[in-house]
Symmetry: C2
Subunit: 427 residues, 2 copies
């Protein structure tokens, strides 16, 4: 029996530190917007390291950057490993970057250990996962999955009016390589959890079986503005008072699905917004998430019913518009089994879990067997400069990624396990 190769945790941590120099913030975070100079420098680092390991490099029209170590079997499809190098503004060093760097270290371990795989192993850095500079999010992986043409995406502009196409060209990543999902055997993405569960449970490995579904609603409440001193409360149609009841109802709807339901009112805007004027209008956004389609549908139906009740009881007119419908994405069950086995072989505890956030893997999933691996992060904090992981957590996840890659190299996946192509929008 061949002993399992061991990924070098110290080298992984050093690589993470090196690539974090490109866009480092004084407070120890990362500010590396998509197609910025910092993004270019981080990609250059990835490409240089991969070339030093003998990998070939391809860049497609969206700037998705693929580095490939050849396999031993002729024409075998590649095992794809990926994530992203762009960040939210003033964010953390590990969201996305960890998955790409761990993939690079898998290639290094294979090359330096002189380990041949039948399938090529290819690491991809997807362009603009965050959607912070150019909308929509998960752009590179969505292009790869065939959801958009390059032409329409390259015309996207940031708030300063810069086009994505020109921005990619300016950093040297406006590529011309045609990379098809048909060339790939499966897709693995390693990521920080961005939630608190794994740290709480002391769980080093999360085997992600699905990404929860999501629905966004824009709600407008129209009451009657008026003088706060002269208008009796009994006669008011106060849009803020009604909105407060609705927010409380949204919370209750979420809590009716303990630990799996998510209900958030993240935006709420009051008009005219003066201390002594009864609000005539409130607009707010409700977001629901649930791992199961029936659960999400129940939450949405309860919201609609709550709006009708509230309109009747307060006299404030309420309009409800669903602006985002992102169904649950199920990953490949066979590949999830493979990840679970890889954790066992690495003597690491794991359990199956649902991702609360969207990832590039959601875009790739309809095109090939896909799974994700999660590691803990401190207090679940992410999209913030104090996002943090430990070297031990980082090492454990990368070792499981290596092990899963080797297991996948020996596995034929059933495509029946893949979800059908779905409209998956937003993050």
């Amino acid at each position: 029996m061949i002993p399992t190769p061991q990924l070098d945790g110290d080298h992984l941590w050093a690589s993470l530190e090196k690539i974090s120099a490109f866009g480092a913030t004084p407070a120890g975070g990362l500010h590396r917007l998509a197609a910025s100079a910092e993004d270019g420098a981080a990609r250059d680092y990835l490409v240089a390291e991969a070339k030093a390991l003998g990998c070939s490099v391809r860049v497609d029209a969206l700037g998705n950057t693929f580095v490939r170590r050849a396999g031993s079997a002729a024409d075998a499809p590649a095992i794809l490993i990926g994530s992203h190098l762009d960040s939210q503004p003033m964010a953390g060093k590990y969201d996305g970057t960890y998955g790409v760097v761990a993939g690079l270290e898998v290639l290094r371990t294979l090359e330096e250990g002189d380990i041949a795989t039948a399938h090529p192993v290819e690491v991809v850095c997807w362009t603009n996962e965050e959607g912070a500079r150019f909308a929509p999010a998960m752009m590179g992986s969505a292009f790869f999955a065939g959801r958009f043409t390059a032409e329409e995406l390259l015309e996207c502009r940031d708030t300063d009016g810069a086009r994505l196409g020109e921005s990619l060209a300016s950093i040297g990543y406006a590529g011309t390589d045609l990379v098809s999902s048909a060339e790939h055997h499966c897709y693995l993405e390693l990521h920080i959890e961005q939630g608190p569960l794994q740290q709480d449970e002391g769980l080093p490995i999360g085997v992600v079986t699905a990404v929860q579904g999501m629905a966004w609603f824009h709600i407008a409440l129209r009451g009657q503005a008026g003088h706060s001193g002269t208008y009796p409360m009994e006669r008011r149609r106060d849009a803020m008072a009604s909105a407060a009841q609705l927010v409380t109802r949204v919370q209750a709807i979420g809590l009716q699905h303990p630990f799996v339901g998510r209900a958030t009112v993240g935006r709420l805007d009051v008009t005219p917004s003066s201390p002594n004027v009864i609000p005539g209008r409130v607009e707010l956004m409700v977001e629901f998430r649930h791992p199961e389609a029936p659960g999400l549908a129940t939450m949405c139906a309860e919201l609609a019913a709550a709006c009708i009740d509230l309109e009747a009881s307060t006299g404030v007119e309420i309009t409800l518009e669903q602006v985002l419908d992102s169904p649950t994405v199920r990953f490949n069950a066979h590949l999830a089994d493979t990840v679970e086995t890889a954790a066992q072989k690495s003597s690491l505890t794991s359990r199956r879990m649902i991702s609360g956030a969207g990832h590039d893997a959601c875009q790739v999933a309809p095109r090939m067997p896909t799974a994700m691996i999660f590691i803990p992060c401190e207090q679940g904090i992410s999209h913030a400069e104090d996002e943090a992981i430990t070297p031990e957590w980082a090492h454990a996840g990368a070792q499981v990624l290596l092990q899963a890659t080797l297991l996948a190299d020996e596995t034929m996946f059933s495509s029946d396990e893949s979800p059908t192509h779905r409209e998956i929008v937003g993050k």
Copy 2:
């Protein structure tokens, strides 16, 4: 017995229409900011009409414009009648203007009827009651009451940087006359209700005995921002969810004082304000009003208790700061009786009521016996272009003002009935 003189309702209505030309909006409203060219033109109209009636004119350092018809008794203090000619932006034609024009028509009725009064009768247009262009509100009357010096107020700037002093000079109303409250016998202000009660009750005359007290609180709720998809609801400290409970509690506090309590959350700002981020911070303003000091104090105490409860139950930190404390202003009881008698003599139904809004009379009240007369307005709408009254309502109010002036001319008021000087801030 001398028959009661009758004020000409048609002439009053025509005068209202004429003065509304200065700052008229296409939708039939009024846009006449303090010390603007339109304000100057409206004052010029008042002065010209008053001079034609033989009145003398004085303008003080704040631009307060006094037109006086002499009395028959040597050195008798004047009966002061007033309100304001400035408006909120894109507002209505009657708020303030009605009281000034009705005062002018009282002077006209006396002069044309050759009716001598023992006391002089003086009509004043106070500068900048609204506070829309220059803060604070009720500026001219506050200066008259001795709360501010002219120097400090004339330095106030609008959002374009224009000083009040220069703006008054540019329209010809930077006066030098010294006008003291010691020269006055009493103060009467006629105004639209700006609420719906009188129209609902078919009540032509409101005898205003007090202006309700007011308290403003700035409340900050600090929870923990986080990813709306990954963070379980059971673990959140969602500032928006807590704020919603607080808004509902504020409503309940108001409704515990039926028909007299007013509780409003007119502003509420969410941070970071993104649909998929749990709000980490909410700031909001609570306004309470109540006609009785103990009632207002109870409301304030209930709010403080609600914040403590909510902090304990949600883990969201709450800070509460009172930013405005404007106690109840009680008008002179004897002068209110006089207004009530004037309504009876005019065969008009009246009842005593509390003003929900602040008025120049609040500033004047500590200096001399003061009372207000209200007439209805359509649906309680004010500070809006569709503010409206009927010619009948306008006529009734002005007739009562005339009658009250004649009664006041025969009355000695006890200064014991006046409130002590109080800090009355805001509107």
